[in-house]
């Protein structure tokens, strides 16, 4: 099975996305089953890899020039070198082996976009604070941070072509289909969800993937929280990760990029080297 994780980054003055992708790739190598742990990095700055101590965690590096105003994740289907791909946001970390999810998707579908998220306490996220567009326009509640697809399959070709149309023509699609609550930006999540709705893609009722989504306002706290790290701690060591009083075992979408410090990288590297 030619499967791999696809990480797509662009150079930024504000965030070191290479470092985040490196942390994620290390976590994949540290936790996923052999054969289901390949990683391909798509970047517009391949030179940035040279600073890493263990660039081998990227099995492949593809250079891709960034188009201004374009999120390259919209081209994940064209960019992937794998037959079966999970494209991830790079601000994520694996803490346990989730290979069984991939094995299920390879066997059972051509396309799957995560359709739920959890709080750090393990509760299903029910707040639509960041997703008014989805609720008002009755869109499926999809999260592009974990997208599985089979390359060149009928369903994925149709889906990715349509979402590219949506991202390329946001005003027209918003006026037509998102009129009840227009988003400020038609991002990947909105485009994926609208494409899924227009194509009437089948819904899944699975207990996985289990992905903890650390956006502040969806944590069931009684106060406003822009940044979750203002309220609870991030405690990472070789034994695992605790967020607040909670041990984390699921895939973490940590959102706050500052938590990937040199110390976190060092722990991940140390684990990889001793594996």
């Amino acid at each position: 099975m030619n499967f791999g994780y696809l990480l797509i980054i662009s150079k930024s003055d504000l965030v070191d996305y290479t470092k985040l992708a490196y942390a994620l790739a290390l976590s994949i190598k540290n936790t996923q089953k052999e054969g289901i742990d390949k990683v391909c990095l798509v970047t517009d700055d391949p030179q940035s890899i040279k600073k890493l101590k263990s660039p081998w965690v990227f099995d492949q590096i593809i250079e891709y020039k960034n188009k201004p105003g374009w999120d390259n994740r919209s081209d994940m289907d064209k960019l992937t070198p794998f037959d079966f791909t999970v494209c991830l946001d790079v601000d994520m970390l694996f803490l346990n082996d989730c290979s069984s999810w991939v094995e299920y998707f390879v066997k059972n579908t051509e396309l799957f976009v995560a359709d739920r998220a959890l709080t750090y306490r393990g509760e299903l996220v029910t707040s639509d604070y960041y997703r008014k567009t989805f609720t008002a326009n009755n869109l499926p509640n999809l999260y592009s941070f974990y997208t599985f697809f089979k390359k060149n399959s009928e369903q994925s070709i149709e889906f990715f072509n349509l979402q590219r149309e949506i991202v390329s023509n946001p005003v027209e699609f918003s006026n037509l289909y998102l009129a009840d609550y227009k988003p400020k930006v038609v991002g990947t999540d909105e485009a994926f969800s609208l494409a899924a709705k227009l194509l009437d893609l089948p819904k899944f009722d699975l207990s996985f993937p289990r992905i903890v989504h650390m956006k502040g306002q969806v944590q069931n706290w009684p106060w406003p929280a822009d940044d979750w790290t203002d309220h609870i701690g991030f405690y990472f060591n070789r034994n695992g990760l605790k967020i607040g009083n909670f041990n984390q075992t699921d895939l973490i979408h940590y959102v706050n990029k500052d938590i990937i410090t040199d110390e976190v990288i060092s722990i991940l590297e140390d684990t990889a080297w001793k594996k």
């Binding site: 306490r121 944590q219 706290w221 009684p222 106060w223 309220h231 607040g244 009083n245 909670f246």
Partner: protein, 285 residues
């Protein structure tokens, strides 16, 4: 395996917990068909003797287990409808139930938990080592706040020690030892889990112990069902001969709405209103 029910009661100057225990114990015994024991102290027994309730207690409880009265400077505000009183709250030895229970499998209930169904019997007949109420359900509407659902705003799930079922074995001994440890180090745990440490609450110690032994994760599987609850701001106003309980639900601003329940176990936090209806409740035993 012998199964039974335990209720704790230490009278305070303001609340006759022994009478609450007689009522809740009698109802539990009747509806679950199991023996029940009372854990109390000599001064509470003396009060029952003076108050002529000891006979009823002896009829209901298969054993009355005496302990030292727990030392307590624990006070809490308890409402009776719109009236508020600050009362002593003697609850610090609940962890000792593991040592004190005469049963292999025990249902521990609060003395303000009135049982009118056999719903808990199925849980008593199951084999899970430890089960606790996973949440509370407000019978008066949607008044469940963050601190009714969690130990603190950012902390773990709040389990309700109003109902606990456990087998007496080394695993559950570990649990109750941990509850005791948390009680002894309550200020430390209040910093760690960010809850206000006064008054001491068994619900919080039990919740942190469960959260810890569940590997610092939430695990509500194999829990007891949500506890149907009437808050202390609500008032039990009538108990009919057929077992229907009528409450006035406090809507705020001196507005009350009446609701009735029947054949429904219910946690009535307004203890004084249970006591005001003692004759009718005792008739249902």
């Amino acid at each position: 395996m012998n199964k039974g029910i335990i209720v704790f009661a230490y009278n305070s100057r303001k609340v006759d917990y022994s009478l609450l225990a007689i009522i809740s114990g009698g109802l539990a015994k009747k509806h679950l068909g199991l023996p029940i024991s009372l854990i109390t102290d000599q001064s509470t027994v003396d009060w029952m003797n003076e108050n002529n309730t000891i006979e009823k207690a002896n009829e209901i409880f298969s054993s009355i287990i005496l302990t030292e009265r727990p030392q307590s400077e624990n006070y809490r505000n308890l409402s009776d409808g719109n009236e508020i009183d600050n009362i002593p709250f003697i609850n610090a030895n609940r962890y000792s139930v593991w040592d004190l229970t005469p049963y292999d499998r025990t249902l521990l209930i609060d003395s303000d938990y009135l049982i009118f169904s056999n719903r808990l019997r199925a849980y008593l007949d199951s084999t899970d080592d430890f089960m606790i109420g996973k949440s509370m359900t407000d019978l008066g509407g949607e008044r469940v706040g963050t601190l009714d659902r969690y130990v603190s705003e950012t902390g773990p799930n709040l389990y309700w020690a109003t109902n606990v079922i456990f087998n007496k074995n080394k695993d559950t001994k570990l649990f109750f030892n941990l509850v005791d440890y948390i009680k002894e180090n309550y200020n430390y745990y209040s910093e760690l889990f960010r809850f206000y440490p006064r008054p001491y609450r068994n619900d919080i110690s039990f919740s942190i112990a469960k959260h810890t032994l569940d590997g610092f994760t939430t695990n509500t599987e194999n829990s007891l069902p949500s506890i149907p609850t009437i808050t202390d701001k609500d008032i039990l106003v009538d108990v009919s001969v057929d077992g229907k309980l009528t409450f006035l639900i406090n809507q705020g601003n001196n507005d009350f709405v009446a609701i009735s329940v029947k054949n429904q176990d219910v946690h009535i936090m307004n203890k004084q209103s249970i006591i005001r209806n003692k004759e009718n409740l005792l008739r249902l035993i």
